[in-house]
Symmetry: C2
């Protein structure tokens, strides 16, 4: 860093924090780690960490996601940059927040020496969070709810093949309301988003449900609801 930058502009440390969502036991859940160090000992936080000098912010987010939650190649989107002056007691740390969506809770919940614990929490029943992470999680939930209505983002929470009931269930869990089965199916099928695989769900007794798959697995704006 050369001296053309005036000293009035203090330097900051850049961090990334990622809100990881999944559907587990019919609940929308978020992954939290329990911290060991003061001043946040025993507080829960969203997994994240600092950005190295030679890595881009987006790459750092992927690295922390892999190292701290054991996941890669999942849906990851930048959420918002939190830049309040006093948000971290260690000094000026600007956090670029992301959210990730994973199809099912197959994350390896392995506690490292760095943390006291790691656990999935139902989004409506969160413990007290460190830093400004309550604000970060709240914004991530709002963004996810909004995007369910005007994009095809739901693909990132489902397995490759799924039944229409499973799809509807995800909408109901995240948006917190019920949909009429017949209208919901009619709407979803009219959008040309998913196609019938010709297969049926195994292990179902009479009338096994048909399995569908997404035609495209890339984010697109499309009015769903």
């Amino acid at each position: 860093m050369n001296n053309q930058i005036q000293p009035a502009y203090e330097f900051a440390v850049i961090a990334t924090d990622t809100v990881i969502f999944t559907i587990q036991n019919n609940e929308l859940r978020v992954l939290l780690i329990k911290m060991k160090k003061k001043p946040f000992a025993d507080r829960w936080a969203v997994p994240g960490g600092l950005v190295l000098g030679d890595e881009s912010v987006d790459v750092a987010a992927k690295r922390h996601l892999m190292n701290k939650a054991g996941v890669k190649n999942v849906y990851l989107e930048q959420l918002y940059t939190f830049g309040e002056v006093d948000r971290d007691p260690f000094g000026r740390v600007v956090s670029v927040a992301y959210f990730a969506l994973i199809p099912s809770a197959n994350v390896s919940l392995k506690t490292t020496a760095e943390y006291a614990d790691v656990r999935w929490f139902q989004v409506n029943d969160l413990p007290k969070l460190a830093y400004d992470h309550k604000k970060i999680v709240k914004l991530a939930i709002e963004r996810l709810r909004a995007k369910l209505t005007y994009t095809n983002i739901v693909f990132s929470l489902l397995p490759d093949e799924f039944s229409l009931s499973e799809l509807q269930k995800i909408y109901e869990l995240i948006l917190g309301k019920k949909f009429d089965k017949r209208n919901f199916r009619k709407k979803i099928l009219s959008l040309n988003l998913i196609k019938n695989t010709g297969k049926q769900q195994l292990g179902s007794p009479n009338r096994p449900p048909e399995l569908y798959t997404f035609i495209k697995k890339q984010l697109e704006n499309i009015q769903i609801l």
Copy 2:
């Protein structure tokens, strides 16, 4: 900044850059400033600047918007944080990008000693830009186009009172397509977004158009098109 942060994590400077849009002469335009200093002498850039040590990132964005473009109290939204390692030749500068929308080009285009020039450019006819600002402007245009379809954001580009033709014109200019007048009006009026003021546009000869106003001037998700 105390030494609990490991030296491996280099410090960065935080900047904000704001893409300012307006509608002028039936074109979607963006405000650019012409730089004086090497290595970007005579290149155009989006107005912005560094974040002070004692101000939040969002506050810095508002300060630069006021100081460099003379506007305040306009629609301002965080766009994306650009964190590539080499994006600034002066060193590690992470840019939190925003976009602003102003109803008409009443920005004071006063060149300061810091810049060679300041000017509005049509978004499809931009000059060569400094840093990664081409990427920033491109993303801002995409975001604006998408938000026109699923939010009421258009309110921020219109004066307090406007005709339905003016509203339709903005959609056509930004999305780059024509809408059927009758269908467009029917759709817009069905959404409960705007109300008739009972007034008519002055200076119009026969059949002066009726003037409308937005019921709410806060961003909401609502399917428009």
